[in-house]
Symmetry: C2
């Protein structure tokens, strides 16, 4: 099955190697917009270089790519047949200890920030820390300032208490761009029902994730993945579920080690992997590249979802969420 | 004389202490827009903090101030009775050695960059170096990239050869936001006829400067200052002369030392001052604060300039120049 002509497909997280081949695969998959990871451990200065690299990428691929800073940019990408790119960081490390840098990076087009990556930071705790005492004093101010300027709060790798505190603090809906319910696939990176209940009540959106370590590895069938989607819709409602595949295509082992170990450890850390599965995971046969997005739409159709419901999951919910979430607060 | 109701007054450089009192003085002076100095020696990271401070200032004074990134913002400031603020840096130090940071700081709203402050840097030489070998290889690329994104090249403190090279390299008109003809007031910071001839031929604009060290000190009369304006119009033409007062109101001695000595020397350096005049200079009686702008309009009227000519000098020329100069190149 092809995506319907009018379907807006949005992937709420990818870390892949963005070259022309990759863009072609996104187009083949009918993808309209991707939230692309612009940093993991980078500080303020390093993030400037990353943004600079993206500017160059936008310039050199202007025939295929369009930077997204508001919902209308996503609609324009659809009209022009381009890939819209939302920049975000999977950490608040670019802010360092400086509250004013929230508006500075927002102005630079960083429209999503995950409060923590895999470690405790100035803002809160990650899902991998032994204890999570919740959002820090600074973290609370950061969430409020993100609300003010229209930068989306992402809780994907964030610890449970910090996530609950952030949802409680936030005056606006927040996102979990790439994680699954942990009662379906038990994993520290997946989310307990307490957090997803709070997300549901907050009006936020959950991006379900095909990253092999967060499901059942490459053996996971399309039917099983779509079964998770259906169960999650039952839990969250049809308007609060989307996709965030966490696709990591053609990235080096060096990058994998940077992703997991940054500069914070000299020992091997496996992140969502394990000693038995230390490398980049192999992806399931039905989702090897972004050209495979139509397989998911087909899988959902096979599960009996309506065209309208499929459109919401494939991108409609993220479109609504990003359109609202990227706007500054009134008067901001 | 008051400024005419429809006069747009633009000051192409001020470094003053931006508080509510200062904003009130700007309003009293009928000032529509100021190019405000957002950095002198600061590197990339430090400039982020400076931009963050300006964001906070814009937020806390939104009733009086409006950030300017394009010509229409200046017109909107006029309509709304607010002070438009163009951010710029008096150095390319924020770029460090990274060409991509031109577009990054442009996106952050740094719409003017002076190629050098008082010292040689990665881009070229200042007016105070013993030898100026001109624009560096990197400097040439920086000028071209500034042209592309619509960031104005400012040559105020820049050395003669570097200035001539920059004008030759630039595909667009450049600015000298704050300096005077050196044959009227001899000073290293003022500009020789070779540079002003090249600027004229390039279509650029010169902002004449009331900074006491660049004229005849506080004794300079309004008549003398306006005489310089008239002579400069004779040389440059009526469409290429504006004001760039370099007003530095209520800044500390600590800031004066930072401005002159940065981190590059442990010895006293006097910049445009001298051992005999080491402190902040005293300003002439007719230009003590920005509330005094109408005195200049009056002085020009007394010299016999037409209302149209006065409007061009007071802001019309900068309005045209900034409107064009802040636009990205077609296709950029």
């Amino acid at each position: 099955m092809r995506n319907q002509q009018d379907t807006i497909v949005i992937d709420a997280l990818e870390l892949s190697n963005w070259d022309r081949d990759f863009l072609t695969m996104l187009q083949q998959g009918g993808v309209t917009c991707v939230h692309a990871c612009c940093g993991i451990w980078e500080n303020a200065r390093e993030t400037l270089s990353k943004v600079g690299e993206w500017h160059r990428f936008f310039k050199e691929n202007a025939d295929l790519v369009l930077p997204v800073q508001q919902g209308d940019d996503i609609r324009r990408a659809k009209e022009e047949g381009k890939i819209g790119v939302v920049l975000g960081t999977q950490n608040t490390s670019p802010l360092e200890d400086e509250l004013s840098l929230v508006s500075v990076f927002n102005k630079l087009g960083i429209k999503v920030m995950q409060l923590t990556y895999n470690n405790q930071n100035l803002v809160g705790s990650s899902c991998y820390e032994a204890r999570d005492v919740g959002l820090s004093r600074y973290g609370k101010l950061v969430v409020q300032e993100m609300n003010r300027v229209g930068m989306v709060v992402d809780l994907s790798h964030v610890g449970e208490q910090t996530s609950l505190d952030a949802i409680h603090t936030s005056s606006r809906p927040v996102a979990i761009t790439h994680a699954n319910p942990d009662w379906i696939y038990p994993n520290k990176r997946n989310k307990p029902s307490e957090v997803l209940t709070a997300l549901r009540d907050n009006g936020g959106v959950l991006g379900l994730c095909a990253y092999p370590h967060l499901v059942n590895g490459k053996e996971t069938t399309l039917d099983e993945f779509c079964d998770m989607i259906v169960q999650t819709i039952d839990f969250m409602g049809i308007d609060q579920v989307g996709l965030g595949t966490d696709l990591t295509l053609n990235k080096s082992t060096e990058f994998l080690h940077w992703m997991r170990m940054g500069r914070w450890t000299h020992e091997m850390d496996y992140g969502a992997g394990s000693k038995e599965n230390p490398s980049w995971p192999e992806w399931p046969s039905w989702f090897k590249t972004p050209a495979d997005f139509p397989n998911i739409a087909q899988g959902l159709s096979d599960k009996g979802l309506s065209a309208e419901a499929i459109n919401k999951v494939m991108g409609g919910n993220w479109l609504r969420f990003f359109t609202d979430g990227f706007k500054p607060e009134k008067g901001a």
